[in-house]
Symmetry: D2
């Protein structure tokens, strides 16, 4: 069975698992107060050019988002995102369960613009409505697109003018930042975002997300928030150890580039075969328009996800590549199509 | 440095880590819908004699407690526990942050009695106060004691009469159930509790707790709750795989017995040397009354935790043994004392 | 200054205030356990034909909505409403602050259809998304329209098939149920809704909403919920006394009819003068399209609210009539236009 | 039936009700943006000597407490109070339902000391426990005692040193501040508290509490919080109008003095008759130790509340006086005893 279901179908990059194995029986202090976490945080601060940022390691993306947002917002404050945003659709109301409204703007390409943000702010003028206070974006987005430097700078500018925090969900940051149409560099993120997270789960770790708090106002007591949400891993060093591995020799972005290359190979093959793509993704998610009967037949030989209906006879399916995808699997997939 | 700080200082039992390594690059479906989880759940239902229970795997203890309690209670309902209870003291208000009051009874030995429960229920007679609806106990308790079958049956009886749910926190279930003064068997738990969890983090897993939902009323939509609290692990099979390992060949309770044996060796040594013990623990936590100066000196050679003040010149410290503790370490510790 | 700002600009209908004055110094038991509340509840059960319903009196509409919804839903469950719904726009995230997502459908006329409901349900198929569990509607709606019997029956049918609760916000129930195009009778509500509330604040009371719980599943412990949300009025009899007044001699619907008659007089006058109306309201809210300069001038002589922009030179303003509006004020308003 | 059940058994002081009657049909702007509220707030700032404080009017005490505490605390922060505190016992978990733990200290006299506060702070040293951030006290307390200036200054000092907010619940402020053993003056409160509220419900108003925010950090966006909790009264001027009445000619404290005088008359009579008092109350609550049989007989002629068991043959009952209590009723009560 060919696997293009998602980018979290395998375990960890072998070098990471090997580090865990080698240190398995050495006692380490718990809750992320260990030297692996300290070192991994230092590596991240160095790689992303933000020496004064706080770095916290959490287990998963929804957990990171809800802890971050619940920490940053007062009870009546809301977060703005594209209607495709992970926090809006795929977190089972986790953000609302922390008490905060998610304000959405319909976006075909998954990307918020300054005009979108302004429109939401202007339609919430007083205390009878929630107060927009944060903008949530994803890099890459849920439909595989990326923000460019110019676009992110423009969002930063509107956030500054409207007193909004800008938070970037980097569950697929490696793929997003290494996309061919992304001119952002890691050191741009701390300059343009109040906080962002570096996704490990979907890029070579067993699990783990590194949350980078840039804005000083977001830093105090964050470890209290982590524990308060049940998000503090007892054996926290497992997170530090994995991010140490990911930021050794730039493995993190190397894996992202590989996933993108595999997606490009698949995308090129699909186009060559005359298939239509549903979103202008340049990253590791490929959204193809396939005939419904063909989809039914393919499911016996390949794993992938249904995304949405396209027309009477076609649906959109998603093929996801990852650091573990092999070129021959892509070719085999193309051969099936 | 000798390590008696806690029972989550090492990684996983080697057989578990080896299973993870061997299956590392094989794609598996996410979110706990995989065969490892299904198999581990079946093993647990078999071992605990509850064929109709639902088993869910979560990453950590606080996360399991808050998800469980938030799922079981309506907004005005409260949970009763000993003042030593983990949910009362060491979860940074996680339960209250789900909206529920924790009602406590001062208990030197960490164990609730039916009289304690009744007293709380009777002092909350109407809608101007919270409605007690759940009893939370730990096995073993936070001070190392255990409930016997008779004690647990008595709690069950009062819960039945007062329409209370009984929930058992088994973060240290392996040690608790194999303690010499514990006459409970695994198959007692489903008979006496509405829900309980089997702790993996402190007994051989890298991380992971298996929540067993016995009462049918607690089962519906529990996966929604898990995701809603950010507690659904993307690579959920890592949890299933670990519990498969723990319940293969009764490894789980074997590891608990080992931890208890190491604690008994330490306890016996302490008593032989004339030390006083602060709590009647029979499990893997040993609470010793030490001279303050001595404590200060010991900290350069051994890791352990301060628990509380005892008198003007003495404090209570906690030594914790685990599946990974070696007899020679216990002997070395005793030699230092 | 002519007042068409809203329907809560005056105190209470004089007969109600007089009842409060006459009983002012007679001691009454608190928290709504008094005979006024009991009697008013009986009158409501009788008038609405639902002898087995529970009736609770609360102070305000947002309070009633948040208490009701927080009581009815489990943490991961969501409520569906039109994007114009009061709970979505004008409650400062009160529903989300109880932990629940509000799922919206864009509706120009403020009214949900079965197709809207189905569409939301179908796009939320599994535990990675919230679970739709309640449909929230308003009668009359926020844009002055009303549901007919046929429409409400159709919503009930889809709710039955999809296991959804149907909750009707009756902040403007008097106006809604007496609108010329509303063929519903009071006794229809308990048959078609799981719960509804009868608005007092906007129809003759100083304050107060009567929440009617029809579905038995919604009844247990509701007084706990009221207190838990800070919504239990110490001198609860003030609520009972007011609803006694409102349901004596059918004053409640008589006041609603008056408000509608005043609105119709205004609407007819506007149409006669050639003004366009922005929404097909048949109740006590009139939405007129006015020239922006004209609006600016009118604000010195009349109070009303800006609703939204219409085109480059026009805005929509809202004129609201009430039980206290006089025909001569309507005529004076028309004379100004 | 003689009424000593509580101090919220009657309506409003006649001058207040008369003001409501006279202005009943004059349109006023809603939500507390009116001139009555502005004037009442100015009167309060003047009377309490705090020209820069923000004053907000809410309907009830639990509502005021939960809105205030939810606004002031971050999710992991907790509030310290005596175990007798209203927020701990009699608010049905309202504070916990906003997400915050209530940390209690057992206090027979209902009053926290600096040592109590310090003890709680010291037992919560790190992020594995909640962070104490607010001290909640009541004046008068739930058992009728009062804080003196010296005591309140001492609490302020410990709050300053420990970075704690001091919040005073003044549900019975009129009685508390006019007690013979209370040397505080109104102008002391803003100097010693970060926030306090002036209770209207129990002292001459139909309903209403005036929350005074002294600390600048507590002021921003408080109206958002009020609406977010469903606590913004549509006809907000009803609150302003009532507090205008209460602070005209010092009616507020005059009523408190009357309630105290009636309680003293009752207390003196009880002592003269040889009854024991359970708490050293000097305010409008009298806690008498009565024979159980006598209590049973009295209930047919007088309304009062059971408080707690005293010994095998006696219980403690509470007699409450108010602004509306008549001397002849006190004498009649004494005659019954």
């Amino acid at each position: 069975m060919l696997n293009f279901r998602n980018d979290y179908s395998e375990g960890a990059h072998p070098t990471i698992l090997e580090a865990m194995r080698q240190n398995n029986l050495t006692p380490v202090i718990g809750y992320g107060m260990d030297e692996y976490c300290a070192h991994a945080a230092a590596m991240i601060r160095e790689r992303f050019g933000c020496p004064s940022a706080d770095v916290h390691f959490l287990v998963g993306g929804t957990q990171t988002n809800l802890t971050m947002i619940a920490s940053a917002l007062r009870p009546y404050e809301a977060v703005i995102c594209a209607d495709t945003g992970h926090i809006n659709v795929h977190e089972t109301g986790a953000i609302e369960s922390t008490g905060h409204k998610v304000l959405t703007v319909p976006k075909e390409d998954g990307k918020l613009t300054p005009a979108d943000v302004l429109s939401v702010v202007r339609s919430h003028p007083d205390e009878h409505m929630v107060k927009p206070r944060m903008v949530y974006i994803s890099q890459s987005t849920e439909v595989g697109t990326v923000y460019t430097r110019h676009e992110l700078e423009a969002l930063r500018a509107v956030c500054d003018r409207q007193n909004l925090l800008l938070y970037l969900d980097g569950a697929r940051l490696a793929s997003g930042m290494t996309a061919e149409d992304c001119d952002l560099i890691p050191a741009d993120l701390h300059r343009l975002c109040d906080a962002f997270y570096i996704g490990g789960t979907k890029n070579g770790a067993l699990f783990g997300e590194a949350l980078v708090l840039v804005n000083d106002a977001l830093k105090p007591d964050f470890r209290y928030m982590i524990k308060n949400r049940g998000a503090m891993l007892a054996k926290g060093w497992l997170l530090g150890m994995q991010f140490e591995g990911l930021f050794t020799g730039d493995l993190y972005f190397t894996l992202g580039r590989h996933a993108n290359a595999m997606a490009a190979r698949l995308r090129d093959g699909l186009i060559a075969k005359g298939y239509e793509l549903a979103y202008p993704s340049t990253t590791n998610q490929v959204f193809a328009v396939l005939d419904k009967d063909q989809i039914f037949e393919l499911t016996t030989e390949a794993a992938f996800e249904f995304t949405k209906n396209w027309d009477a006879t076609h649906d959109v399916v998603r093929f996801v590549t990852s650091w573990a995808t092999k070129a021959e699997d892509v070719d085999a997939m193309l051969a099936l199509l």
